[in-house]
Point group: D2
Chain length 289, copies 4
């Protein structure tokens, strides 16, 4: 698959002078010194990306959930189809979307270590010191805070919030879907008993998004207020309780937030439809190019 | 206005054999022994109500908010226009909608005593022993629990929840919009300092909807689970915090609930659009006639 | 009412240095030499209009339907409430909305002469030589094509299309709701037999929007393509047929157009909800201030 | 894949007495004498289908488009996920959904012969004399008109309309998405020049849905009025023109029809979202079980 996409990329490069060029999703990768392995990511490139070679774009980091990897927003989130629709209707301008891989599959099926630093898995270091700088250098990305946003689902929703909480200087907007907040009510003994799952859960519990808000200093709260926050969670989602606690904490801390609780549960129909809210929301905060 | 509507009613009665008869909202009233005065209510009557004289309908009680009265769901909620749309599209069958008056305006502008018993204002007694039985006898209402639902906004959202909490044997469904829950966070010293407002607020605080759930016995919880609950509150509503607390309490008590937090604030645009969710939701629980 | 609104305007002028200032709708008027009478209009002024005295705004002309006048978009379209919602959610920037009066009520109930020149009613001359220039001079309006759009319902939907067809140099966008196209199928002998109605209908038939497209020269078609068109009509609207004919004509002429046929009929619930599509659509074409 | 699904079916059969049983989509097949080959179909079976062995269900026939087959509504339409959502929210009751295969791939890539009888491809005979009776006998389907509906996309949208036009005695409702109407404007010389495509196109042109309405006798029109029609087509769909012509023909013939023209083009994002309108629409016409 990856090879096939690389081929497409090559063909498209050659076709740079052709009249119409479609948007595409390419699988690329980074040789990570931090993680000690090659790490893939998917990247959405706008229509005419190869043609308008002087144009730079806003960027969205789009994080996957547990048991998924860098390919699922493409395969089941249909992010390219959604972008095609939103660009055509004028609700978003073209942007670049980076879909990283936070799974770890060393022969262990379903093992997924998540977005936080763990023993032998310094993912957060990888994200901020390797992935982000390298991608923003390689592709024509407007590498400034105003034009950089982050979103994610479930485990990636918690990653989204925690990253933006601790790096409000990097992200101007954060959109979390059906987030695993890392708060005690999220932890379910039965559901999370498997040792593979526990690695991710322990990482998340150490970055409890609710606790972070409750214990934030006035300076940190002030920084949090500089981010445009959006929380989206289905009314039948088993993670709703943690999300409600987060909303209450944000409310009490005086940090404004867009909120949607829509009809739905913890599934891809919800996340696919969330893109139609998320991407126009980001776009309204980006500069217009 | 009232006289005009009565006239319409009369004319329509005479026109009972005419071919097409429109739905209508009539202002009617009850001489209340409990309240010691005449009390108005608005009532929505289906198309052909006067013609199909053997047909009985499900009933919805629709409660107004503070500073409003029985006329506002008609004038600003546009409930008749909404019903026309929903019946035409087939999303609801015809039903009867009763809009009571919980305001008390004895020369005191803005005084509104609300849905709970107060000194000299036994409104709850009036509602259950006079209004409901008399209306359900006078009009062709299917006076059974399955086909009876209650909804309301703000002060009337709290009324909706509290009535259904204490009378699950009467209502099969309850839909609250932007509810004043009567829970401490709802109380705002500045906003609620005026003596007129205080009467309503004190009544509501004595019927704290959150506390009711938290302290409910297993038997009461079991009864609560027999009601179809729906909570709808805008993400910019100043009452959102109390609503979130209520949701958490229901979640922890194991009482299922439909939930929507939509884009919006404490205003009529929200409540008018809420009718398009509320009435089809009720209809799905009613019998089909 | 008008006096009351003028008073509000005065008070607000005095309160120019106060901290928070709400948006408002003011009724203003023009002494029209063309029409030989004083002609009212409603105008929506943004929050802080009186405070930010150097700020200029995009402008939308919003046309009423038959039997209405300049006040109905305010009273029943709830345009100010809609703007409050859309500005708060970030879907539109602040703009100025002008609601003219195309009714003529000289003791003749329901007489409404419409948007086209008639004997003794040179409304189109009034609109383009008096209303538009005077309003754009008096209020802080960005008086350029990019930031000027036009919308309207029913009779005003036809007015919208015909004005933008013949003045593509003035409007960058046109949004028609449930339009009376002035095309033969719109004309209904029974419905339009009354002499008062006939004045409007004759004017509309002389400006058949479908015929205009069918007979347009290549130069005119090229000009039409410079306008962003949007057509919105309910599937139960009695005017749908004329709207479908217009769509076919535009399609065959190669003039792109946004189209929505939503569930609904010829009523205010439709037009109120249309504003939530129309105003963000205009905003996406306006410059960002 | 098929073998895998059959295995699931077997396992589920064994698990008939287990407490919770999920809905599923099974690939089954028919040995068709008419077509002279084995023909596959996908079938959605409700939750607890194996458990509630006395329960019968309404049925929806869901037709695929050109270049697809019986698997695409499952793989890209996500029909099972949609059903899970709609059943949970109460917007539809459980039903059975049959997804036939109208492709023909005898070593010829992309050849798809469609829903009409062709030389060596008597698909319509297969559909009505083999598929429908056999499926409705094998599975617990309420085999009556009231509880039978048909829907489809593109080529399958045209199939939907034509089948329901000529068999109003079999289907109580028909929902067409982005339909290829078989009307001359649908035919595009360049797009349809390939000989494989031409087989399907010729079949469709011989069953021009617009012409059928225009030339219908009063008796046929009366029969058409007994069907609940719904037409859904994106405003950027290249087939919109044919759809508009069909709407005009239906309008002029006095056959009522639900209509939606939504933002969108000829793609799966549109058809997936269409299911959320289509299935509740069907459900409102079905009996309630």
């Amino acid at each position: 698959m990856k090879r096939y996409l690389t081929l497409i990329l090559l063909l498209c490069s050659c076709a740079a002078f052709a009249q119409v060029e479609k948007s595409m999703i390419v699988t690329d990768s980074i040789s990570s010194a931090v993680l000690g392995c090659k790490k893939a990511y998917n990247i959405y490139l706008p229509q005419n990306y190869k043609k308008d070679i002087d144009k730079f774009y806003p960027v969205v980091y789009l994080l996957h959930g547990y048991s998924d990897d860098n390919t699922n927003w493409t395969k089941r989130g249909h992010v390219r189809d959604v972008m095609t629709n939103l660009v055509r209707s004028g609700e978003v301008q073209e942007m670049i979307i980076v879909m990283p891989d936070a799974s770890k599959k060393n022969g262990v099926p379903n093992a997924c270590h998540g977005y936080f630093n763990q023993p032998d898995w310094a993912y957060e270091d990888y994200f901020f010191t390797e992935l982000m700088p390298q991608v923003e250098k390689k592709y024509r990305i407007r590498a400034d805070r105003t034009n950089r946003a982050i979103a994610g689902l479930s485990m990636g929703g918690g990653g989204t919030i925690s990253y933006a909480q601790r790096h409000p200087e990097l992200f101007s907007a954060a959109y979390s879907m059906s987030a695993f907040m890392g708060t005690p009510v999220d932890y379910n003994k039965e559901r999370h008993s498997h040792p593979d799952v526990m690695v991710f859960v322990e990482g998340a519990l150490r970055h409890d998004c609710v606790k972070y808000v409750r214990e934030a200093s006035p300076e940190i709260l002030e920084a949090l207020r500089s981010v445009r926050w959006f929380l989206d969670c289905g009314d039948d989602d088993y993670l709703l309780e943690g999300n409600l606690e987060f909303l209450l904490a944000m409310k009490r801390a005086g940090v404004p937030m867009e909120i949607r609780v829509r009809e739905g549960a913890h599934n891809w129909e919800y996340w696919n439809s969330a893109l139609y809210i998320c991407l126009p929301y980001f776009n309204r905060g980006f500069d217009r190019f």
